[in-house]
């Protein structure tokens, strides 16, 4: 069925089927990709110097992708602007495109209707990539945990590296979370991936 023999896709139905299959599939939290809190990561002597250089360059130029979903986004915007000044950490360029970014700050309530978009943007980012879950809603669903349409934490959809609690967290908390992420990046090794 369609015009001149072309099939017209039923976008609403396809989107609904997509979301329903995600709802069924995403019931367990995605584990953290790197066990970074164990101190004794087995380090190969040959690559430690290379690691140090690579990790320094990665951490000193994190480019975040905007993923502002709700009120936490305003704290993220405040962090990016002059008073809190995220550019002190080499990350003033908040990219609107996931292909130029390596950190996704999920700030706000994630609904199931938005979940496929989150997954797509995460998979469009180039490796290596990190995710910060900012605020109670992104961590667990927060205030809307018992709602019919809210995802119980973005870690059901994508692996999360750092969780920042708060409702919403202050910009200082976001900066602290970013510094925790720096510690994590410092401990990574090219031998792991």
């Amino acid at each position: 069925m369609g015009i001149d023999g072309f099939d017209i896709p039923n976008l609403d139905r396809d989107e609904g089927a997509d979301i329903e299959s995600m709802r069924k599939a995403c019931t367990l939290a995605v584990p953290d990709p790197v066990g970074w809190q164990e101190e004794d990561i087995s380090r190969n002597v040959l690559v430690t110097t290379v690691d140090a250089v690579i990790n320094w360059s990665r951490r000193a130029s994190l480019w975040p992708v905007n993923f502002g979903l709700a009120c936490c986004a305003f704290e993220m915007i405040a962090t990016a602007s002059s008073r809190f000044d995220i550019s002190r950490f080499g990350m003033e360029i908040l990219r609107p495109s996931p292909r130029q970014a390596d950190l996704m700050i999920v700030s706000g309530t994630l609904t199931w209707k938005m979940a496929p978009a989150l997954k797509r943007i995460y998979s469009q980012m180039a490796e290596p990539k990190w995710v910060i879950a900012m605020g109670a809603c992104a961590i667990s669903g927060g205030l809307f945990h018992r709602s019919y349409s809210v995802v119980h934490g973005v870690n059901l959809i994508v692996p999360v590296d750092v969780y920042i609690p708060g409702c919403p967290p202050r910009p200082e908390a976001l900066l602290n979370g970013i510094q925790k992420l720096y510690e994590k990046i410092q401990k990574q090794s090219i031998a792991q991936k």
């Binding site: 609403d12 139905r13 609904g16 089927a17 979301i19 019919y148 349409s149």
Partner: protein, 148 residues
């Protein structure tokens, strides 16, 4: 501020125009039968002296036994406002005529009511879910909705 119109007089006038359309009227609102809604809407919009040319909002209330659809109308010319309500007693398949043909602004709001309360609007040009996705089970703003 808009001034509320004298609802008792207006209800009598509507009753003369469309016999048997009024369910009840108080000094705050008029409750009409669902099958008359689109005719009454057109009458309220086009009659000189009334001219309710602006639909402030459409919303719906679940009273457990029945649904109430509420229209807040404003006349920008006469600086007057009116609360018009209609009942649907059929809980299985609640249906109300659409007023999109009268006020275009009702389009998304009627879709929202359809999405969250499950009231169908007859002759709506594009009646489909607006917030939730196709395949969502149930209507979450109904009082008997159970999550999962």
């Amino acid at each position: 501020m808009t001034k509320p119109v004298a609802t008792k007089e207006l209800a009598d006038r509507l009753e003369r125009e469309f016999q048997g359309c009024i369910i009840e009227s108080s000094d705050k609102d008029i409750v009409v039968k669902a099958e008359f809604v689109s005719k009454i809407a057109l009458y309220l919009k086009d009659t000189p002296g009334l001219e309710f040319d602006y639909l402030n909002y459409v919303t719906a209330v679940d009273y457990k036994d029945y649904f109430m659809v509420v229209y807040n109308l404003i006349s920008l010319k006469n600086n007057a406002s009116l609360i018009l309500k209609t009942r649907c007693d059929n809980r299985e398949n609640p249906t109300v005529p659409s007023v999109v043909g009268v006020w275009k602004g009702a389009d998304f709001q009627e879709r929202e009511i359809y999405d969250l309360m499950g009231i169908r609007f007859e002759n709506h040009p594009d009646l489909k879910r607006i917030f939730l996705w196709d395949g969502f089970a149930g209507y979450p703003l109904r009082k008997d909705f159970v999550n999962q």
